[in-house]
């Protein structure tokens, strides 16, 4: 086990995190919020010094990085990131309890957007910015960021592909260009460009610059922290529609944009996952629009709310313009199913992923065929090429792990004695990094009524959901820590 190497990476992660706290300090300074500024300053100093200690003690780390260490490194980095990220909330006293602050931070980094805050608007602007920024950096992944800015030989040598694999969502992560550093850079350039585009559209619609920055961060990372009590509901219909479109955009596999930039339009439009994703969105919007007819005065408004909520849930963002908990059962059921499906692989969204869902369906169809024609040799295809059995198998296993974790968390959260819809939707919502659930966990409420045990369970769910289970799961396996 190469602890030093992992230590070094965590040191770098903290260094990056400390640098990212700078804008919050400036913002607090500009607002004259002395307490907030001090808390950021102290957090930054703590993070910096710990990072310096780690980087110094681990400076002679070997450069060999095995698959096991890669996964452990990703799991630990995210925990380390969250622990330092919650310091400003605690030190400033704006979220005094550790578990609450951790919940809020993990919810930020994992782009969940579930909040324990009863009144968001009481937070200072520095804190609001920090909360939204965690979405942005968590969306594409902080390790990917590190790989993108790493010096040429550091980011490329050895086994860092495991880091990218462990942090990027999707069943089969592939590089866009031969160098991992180049791949990470391309991803971040696309990500930054789309975020800026989103910001421009929001500002053009008359949104305040600060609000637009935070909303763009929340949309880009498919996070969903609102900076208003009623999330996006108070903004103009134009802004709501911009959000709908951009949430969908950030839910698409980023390699599609890379293909798009390379003018390989055919490959983009033929992409089965993208087609499935869009088909699910259109069908869901249709069903819900018909189902909630009469709830809102005009058809335009009905369609707007239906599409906003569908786009917000399937991309696992979690913004809201209306309380969908008041909708009829059919609509709520559709919403709950969308939570499970999630966005495309390789996007910033969470969930099971459309790609996996599609392959699960295809495997199911194959199995059914196999019963009818036992001697037929069948392969599962995706985009015209056969999918290796190894990947199919891993998706099946992933799905079982996914179901088991939901079941186990559901039981743990139910200890609190809240209603079943609350518990199950809270678990599904956190595990898929969405935010709002149904009933007491619905868009109009927050997560403050859960006990500490439930909050801890949900924190682990959020991390496991963001990192696609394994990096977190193996932290609990004793074989992972054994000396090789």
């Amino acid at each position: 086990m190469n602890y030093r190497r992992i230590g070094k990476y965590i040191g770098y992660i903290w260094l990056i995190e400390a640098v990212f706290m700078l804008p919050s300090i400036m913002l607090s300074l500009a607002d004259g919020q002395q307490a907030a500024m001090n808390s950021f300053l102290i957090s930054m100093l703590i993070t910096l010094s710990l990072s310096a200690v780690l980087i110094y003690t681990c400076r002679n780390a070997k450069s060999v990085f095995t698959a096991r260490e890669g996964f452990i490194c990703v799991g630990l980095s995210w925990i380390a990131l969250s622990i330092m990220g919650c310091l400003p909330f605690i030190i400033s006293g704006e979220i005094p309890r550790f578990i609450d602050a951790l919940f809020e931070t993990v919810s930020g980094f994992t782009t969940t957007g579930a909040s324990i805050l009863i009144d968001v608007e009481r937070l200072s602007r520095g804190m609001l910015y920090w909360r939204s920024f965690t979405h942005w950096i968590g969306g594409m992944g902080v390790l990917v960021f590190m790989l993108a800015i790493a010096p040429k030989d550091e980011g490329g040598r050895g086994f860092t592909l495991h880091l990218l694999k462990a942090e990027s969502p999707g069943p089969d992560v592939s590089k866009l260009v031969p160098h991992i550093r180049g791949t990470a850079q391309i991803l971040y350039v696309i990500y930054i460009a789309l975020t800026i585009l989103d910001f421009c559209f929001l500002v053009a619609g008359g949104m305040e610059v600060f609000d637009a920055v935070c909303t763009a961060f929340g949309t880009a990372g498919t996070g969903g922290f609102g900076i208003k009590r009623d999330s996006i509901a108070g903004y103009s219909p134009y802004i709501q529609n911009v959000c709908t479109v951009f949430m969908l955009i950030f839910g698409v596999n980023f390699s599609c944009y890379y293909l798009f930039l390379n003018r390989e339009l055919k490959a983009v439009f033929k992409d089965e996952e993208l087609r499935t994703y869009l088909a699910i969105v259109v069908v869901s919007i249709g069903i819900i629009t018909v189902n909630i007819k009469g709830f809102y005065p005009t058809f335009e408004e009905t369609l707007r709310h239906a599409s906003f909520q569908v786009s917000s849930i399937i991309t696992t963002t979690g913004f809201a313009t209306t309380d969908f908990d008041l909708w009829p059962s059919l609509s709520k059921a559709v919403i709950l199913c969308l939570m499970l499906v999630g966005a495309c692989a390789g996007s910033t969204g969470g969930g099971l992923k459309c790609g996996r869902f599609l392959l699960l369906l295809k495997t199911l169809r194959r199995q059914a065929h196999q019963i009818l024609y036992p001697n037929k040799v069948q392969v599962v295809r995706s985009n015209g090429t056969a999918v290796p059995e190894k990947i199919l198998q891993s998706i099946n296993v992933y799905f079982s792990a996914y179901a088991m974790i939901i079941a186990l968390s559901f039981i743990m959260v139910s200890v609190d004695g809240l209603s079943i819809p609350t518990n199950i939707s809270a678990v599904i919502s956190c595990f898929n990094n969405i935010g709002p659930g149904l009933d007491l966990a619905g868009p109009a409420y927050n997560y403050s009524m859960f006990s500490d045990l439930s909050k801890f369970t949900l924190i682990m769910d959020m991390l496991a959901g963001r990192l696609e289970i394994y990096p977190i799961l193996i932290l609990f396996s004793h074989t992972a820590w054994k000396r090789a």
């Binding site: 592909l161 260009v177 160098h179």
Partner: protein, 453 residues
């Protein structure tokens, strides 16, 4: 620069390791999915699974935008077709093919405008050439040639009895009686670029720069008794053995080749009229003794199995055969190997990849590229020869006034055929060629890279 490597076998893997560490954009093509997965996990490269000679697969590897294709599969025909296809898809591409079958060499030369290959490499032939050179000067573990064969870097192992053991490098000139320079020392698996105060210890492996004409003086003064190799025993009838026997039997050396396979023996006997071919098991020690191992001046272990070669070489060493040469395909960089008395170690794929790497570097920077590149000290250091052109900095400045990067040594200056083993007062001029030894971590692509910025 974008490079496609077709075939992830022995040569392919070595090339991938070497070239990816130099930062090129590399795409690997191999038909086996485990090779592809392995490459992806171990190196920072792209990988495509499929038949590298198929246009569709080459397109997937983005051949249209590639600068160089290296076809290194085990099949000559596949390599040729792969290069031809790539050329059709991208006429500007450079192609390098591994061609092992000697029957093709003639037609590749004649049909050069059809194949349009930039370079062909033949690992077996290269190895045979290398072994032949070693046999010319028994006593050195390795020889790397520069300046058109006038300067060499040779490898010596220091043992307790050697006069070198315990002496300081400043005194080296007196001991050897000729002008030589120790450019690298391999001690406990680490390469050291020594200075004058460095003290040589038992079991060090020295890399010494010397003009070729001084080599025999060097050997004599160091007390390494050598006599001309007259009788060589080769264990294993591989293709290298064939090339080697062909080359050295011409110069009057008596060759015995031992192989287990009767068919192979028959083939060799038919094609090598001057060599003795014996059918039998080379790992059987009494058999080797019967075949006159004790009278041999050199033993070359050349079977297809590394472990077998090690055993044979150890046995040869035990029988005091003056020179032992071991071919290793897989374990060449292992530290265990350097602690065993295996004599010279020959690794065909490394030789082959050295040639290709030199070509790639020359392609990258047309001007100022290295004339020769040899990796020495188990791959931990590199010796490169550069021509000093107009762009070179610090011409005519004494070396002691230059600020070179750490672990960089200028080991020889070839001033129009006059060879200078440099000291602090030497300087180089335009038109000279200079041999530089650098640690593996320094990337020296052009001559000016050796200076501290």
């Amino acid at each position: 620069m974008k490079i496609i490597i077709a075939g992830g076998g022995k040569v392919g893997a070595t090339l991938t390791r070497q070239l990816s560490s130099e930062g090129y954009d590399i795409t690997i093509i191999d038909s086996k999915s485990n090779v592809v997965d392995d490459a992806l996990n171990r190196y920072d490269v792209m990988a495509v699974q499929g038949n590298c000679a198929a246009a569709s697969v080459l397109m997937k590897a983005d051949v249209q935008r590639a600068d160089l294709l290296i076809a290194a599969t085990s099949e000559d025909e596949v390599n040729l077709l792969c290069c031809l296809t790539a050329h059709h898809l991208n006429p500007a591409i450079h192609t390098i093919a591994r061609i092992r079958n000697p029957e093709y060499s003639r037609q590749i030369y004649d049909m050069s405008d059809v194949f349009a290959l930039s370079l062909t490499v033949n690992p077996e032939k290269q190895s045979a050439k290398e072994i032949e050179r070693l046999l010319r000067f028994p006593g050195f573990l390795r020889r790397d040639t520069f300046a058109n064969g006038r300067v060499e870097i040779v490898e010596l192992r220091v043992n307790e009895k050697s006069v070198l053991c315990g002496s300081r490098l400043n005194n080296l000139q007196q001991l050897t009686g000729c002008s030589v320079l120790v450019c690298a020392v391999l001690r406990n698996g680490q390469a050291i670029m020594p200075d004058g105060d460095f003290v040589i210890q038992n079991n060090d492996r020295l890399f010494v720069t010397a003009p070729t004409s001084n080599l025999s003086v060097l050997l004599k003064n160091l007390g390494i008794i050598t006599r001309k190799v007259k009788k060589v025993m080769i264990c294993g009838g591989s293709r290298i053995s064939y090339y080697l026997a062909q080359r050295i039997s011409q110069s009057g050396i008596k060759v015995t080749i031992i192989d287990k396979d009767p068919d192979k023996c028959l083939y060799l006997a038919q094609n090598l009229p001057k060599a003795d071919i014996v059918c039998g098991d080379a790992t059987d020690q009494s058999f080797l003794e019967n075949e006159g191992l004790a009278d041999c001046d050199a033993l070359v272990s050349m079977t297809s199995i590394d472990e077998m070669n090690i055993i044979i070489s150890l046995f040869g060493n035990m029988n005091n055969v003056p020179q032992v040469i071991t071919k290793l395909d897989h374990m060449e960089n292992s530290r265990v190997m350097s602690s065993l008395p295996l004599g010279s170690i020959i690794n065909p794929r490394e030789l082959c990849s050295n040639i290709i790497v030199r070509y790639v570097r020359a392609l990258k920077n047309q001007a100022g590229a290295a004339l020769a590149v040899h990796s020495i000290a188990d791959g931990l250091a590199e010796a490169e020869e550069f021509r000093i052109d107009e762009s070179a900095k610090y011409c005519n400045v004494p070396l002691k006034d230059l600020r070179l990067k750490k672990n960089v040594l200028i080991v020889c200056i070839n001033h129009g055929g006059q060879l200078i083993i440099p000291n602090g007062n030497s300087c180089f001029e335009q038109g000279d060629t200079v041999i530089v030894v650098t640690g593996r971590r320094n990337m020296v692509m052009q001559f000016n890279d050796i200076f501290e910025v």
